[in-house]
Symmetry: C2
Subunit: 191 residues, 2 copies
């Protein structure tokens, strides 16, 4: 669930070594916002190191976490491609290094660099596939299943991500998350 894209990160790193001018490196502290919700997005961002969360605050005040992004994951590209305002906010969870590509450069790369173009197409396709599968699983399974699936994908989960974020990722309350966890412990320890 903390997705990564090594191929893209490697290519971006190479690109940067050749053309330092068009890819900017930045650092963010935990809790710092990279992109705000409903803002104009002027750059595409790629995680070099660390973890960020991409989340959305609904009109009723509830937060929903779309995804956790790790190394090589890209964000802001949707908004740059379609010229829309950001529909998610993105915030650093750990200390995070980001590569930023201004949208003009991003568009030029898409036009002139076939490999880059392909990598972006694949990254978009992977995002759709991933979120589609996740959405479907969520709607069709109980909380316990969803939590177990999450833990299977990322065992260190509870060490890195706060309970609140886990609950918001699963679309449930913290109370429900806690109940499921303690029920699982009940099952495990005695058996």
């Amino acid at each position: 669930m903390i997705r990564i894209n090594k191929e893209l990160l490697q290519y971006i790193t190479e690109l940067r070594s050749r053309r330092e001018d068009c890819i900017i490196a930045e650092k963010y502290d935990p809790g710092e916002q990279v992109i705000g919700q409903e803002k104009r997005v002027l750059s595409v961002h790629i995680v070099k190191k660390g973890i960020v969360k991409c989340y959305l605050t609904e009109d009723n005040g509830k937060d929903f976490i779309q995804e956790f992004f790790g190394e090589g994951e890209i964000f802001g590209e949707i908004e740059v491609l379609n010229g829309t305002l950001s529909f998610c906010a993105v915030e650093a969870i750990t200390g995070t290094d980001i590569y930023r590509i201004p949208r003009e450069q991003f568009n030029l790369l898409l036009q002139n660099d076939k490999k880059f173009n392909t990598l972006i197409l694949k990254a978009l396709a992977t995002k759709i596939r991933y979120t589609g599968l996740r959405h479907s699983y969520h709607q069709s399974h109980a909380i316990e299943d969803n939590f177990l699936r999450l833990k299977a994908q990322f065992p260190r989960l509870t060490g890195v991500i706060s309970k609140r974020d886990i609950a918001n990722y699963l679309g449930i309350t913290q109370r429900s998350l806690n109940r499921v966890i303690s029920e699982l412990q009940q099952k495990d320890l005695p058996g």
Copy 2:
């Protein structure tokens, strides 16, 4: 919620008038499957006319409908781009006309036709945005809100789409859907 993409449809139509060999027209009857789940996908498909549903059968037997596609919407492109098996099945709801582009042709077009490339990038970005917003809204709102939102987006809803499909789209049971509908009628008629 029945998404369309007129720009893409128009471009595909033009393409076909120039190069009839690489874009194949097909017809599907209601209920007929265009793509099966977990199958190899050898072509990209674009809806010329009609409505299809893109759905996923989970291991517990529950169906979840990812999207309804109308004119100009594309599917199968995720699998062709990433070389994965189909994660959704696609089935005609109405009688449907489809344009089919074999994957070799699709890849050539992506490489050699800048406008096509851009249209696909935008279509992918729109898909991500749309499904992300939907997923978030679903998780954060009550069934009634979700149903009303759906009806606002597509008022003819209940005439075209079966109750079972609506329930599967919303990720709820038919029983719950019926209760919400009758409760809404209770509210409307007396007031």
